[in-house]
Amino acid sequence: MNWINNLSLPKINDFFQRREMPENLWRKCENCEQMIFHRELKQNLYVCPHCEHHMRISPTERLESLYDFGAYTVVDVPDPVADPLNFRDEKRYTDRLRDARRTTNEKEAVVVAHGRIGDVDTVSAVQNFGFMGGSMGMAVGDSLLKAAETAVERKSPLLVFSAAGGARMQEGILSLMQMPRSTIAVQMVREAGLPYITIITHPTTGGVTASYAMLGDIQIAEPNALICFAGPRVIEQTIREKLPEGFQRSEYLLEHGMLDMVTPRTRLRAELVKILRMLMQLPMLPAGQLPEPGSLVRDDEPEMSEVEAAEQPDGSAVKSSDPQS
């Protein structure tokens, strides 16, 4: 009977005892629908260990997983003029901004930081799809310009992680003007003879694709990311036919010559270290000398084994995994 206890009872108990379990310990992969233990998901940088589906990762976690020892300094970007058009649709733009700030705990849709990656001083700008769809308004343009200035000052390469539904419509023409403005940022880095690398993540569309995302010295995409100017729905409406499977996805763009490579998130840091050190004319790091990246898993987070123990019928182990008791 032991095997029944081990295999089926935990599942049944999981069902009945859900409320006693800390929430969000498990997450269902939206692609393969398998349940993933959240510690494992974090260790794997939000890539499903079963199907390699790349889930959204916050800018903070992105930076932690990228920089040596997870150490980086956030660069402050001054606030642009707020709601320059006094825009209102069904909702006020200022209200939408306030909501986005509350849910993301970020000021705007890009986080700029500097630190060392593979012991190379590097500046990053990370776009946050969770903040109003990552949309590009004045703040995004200003952030990219600030990131470029920081890179030039520090004589460091610039990495840009793109993710956006496109322009911030609520800023009207000013959002469109971020296409030339962000292009100036790229030019500043280029004129200083520094590398500019774009890491294009899901989804990157519209004016963002048609400006800084496509101007990288090297362009890397995460697997299966939607990367386009006009979205698939708009195209289907225009040409009135179904688009082929995989259209406008990373692998498709790679085949059509628009990208240098498609790299899974779990291998991205190693790839970047290699490239950055070559472009910056630095020697190869001897084996064992590559600094560790930061870990997204906090020390007080329960282990898988502890949770399994917690699923014992009497439920007593739940308390033992709680650091409070």
Partner: protein, 318 residues
């Protein structure tokens, strides 16, 4: 004359005047001059009134008016020795983007424009002014040549946007637009742009990242079409009027936001009522801006352009 929805009253008055004139032609005894004059006076007063208080949505319709002069009309009337240049040297010729060497008031320049076409056949040929990547790559090639031979660049912008098609995406529409914008910022010769109708999003930016931007009074320049914006933010394309107002896409608002340098007045009733007058006014504006830029060195030209875009966004609309 094709009338817009809001011009219905004018259409009726002008129609009546026309009918009367036709009647009088058949009957020599009939004295209609007084009545015709009265009708014409009334219709022109109405037109003046309508065009004095246009809504942003009405301006969008005027900007898209099929009888409005298009890039080819401007190039034909304002430039001499027009020598069209074709092809992106990679894939094809894009008929939505016309361009070439020409003389503008005697000086050789490079002229590039988005052409919508004037009848069904030419509209299809021009893909309604929606460029594919090849159009932008051709523009890059021409701007690059202008840079090497020290020719100022004049562009005419009039497009609903870049073409949202399968092939266009496959061949790198985004990259082509990004590179065209980059080329605009890079060259050491002045760029003067006239927005003569629709400035549709990224497809317009690629040719409008200029030192000086002049817009016809009833043209529009926007990040997204009012219909597109309405269907996303209001969840209904029927709210395009509201979106047009919220987007602040008129020449007057863009001037206030310091995105453009000049609003070029149109004849009463819009450029479509008197194309010649509109074309001349645009030509004079372009000439004025080019003259101002001519004194600058190559570095100054680049810096002027860069500074202009870096400064954008400091103004707030009331």
């Amino acid at each position: 004359m094709q009338y817009l929805d809001f011009e219905k009253g004018v259409a009726e008055l002008e129609g009546k005047a026309r009918e009367l004139r036709a009647l009088a032609r058949d009957d020599a005894q009939m004295d209609i001059s007084e009545e015709v004059e009265r009708l014409e006076g009334k219709s022109s007063a109405l037109l003046q009134d309508l065009y004095g208080k246009l809504t942003p949505w009405q301006k969008c319709q005027i900007a898209r008016h099929p009888e409005r002069p298009h890039a080819q009309d401007y190039i034909g009337a304002l430039f001499d020795d027009m020598t069209p240049l074709a092809g992106d040297r990679g894939f094809s010729e894009d008929h939505a983007v016309i361009g070439g060497l020409a003389r503008f008031r005697n000086e050789p320049v490079m002229v590039i424009g988005q052409e919508k076409g004037a009848d069904t056949q030419s509209r299809l040929h021009r893909n309604f002014g929606m460029a594919r990547p090849e159009g932008y790559r051709k523009a890059i090639r021409l701007m690059d040549m202008a840079d090497r031979f020290n020719l100022p660049v004049v562009t005419f912008v009039d497009t609903p946007g870049a073409y949202p098609g399968k092939g266009a995406e496959e061949r790198g529409q985004s990259e082509a637009i990004a590179r065209a914008t980059e080329k605009c910022l890079e060259i050491g010769v002045p760029i003067v742009t006239a927005i003569i109708g629709e400035g549709g999003s990224g497809g317009a930016v690629a040719l409008a990242t200029a030192n000086r931007l002049a817009m016809l009074e009833h043209s529009v320049y926007s990040v997204i079409s009012p219909e597109g914006c309405a269907s996303i933010l209001w969840k209904s394309a029927d709210r395009a009027q509201d979106a047009a107002a919220a987007l602040r896409l008129t020449a007057q608002d863009l001037k206030q936001l310091e995105v453009i340098e000049e609003v070029v007045p149109e004849p009463v009733g819009g450029a479509q009522r008197d194309p010649k007058a509109a074309i001349t006014a645009v030509g004079d504006a372009v000439a004025r801006h080019l003259a101002e830029l001519r004194a600058m060195s190559r570095d100054e030209v680049r810096k002027d352009r860069r500074e202009k875009f870096l400064q954008i966004g400091r103004v707030r609309l009331s």
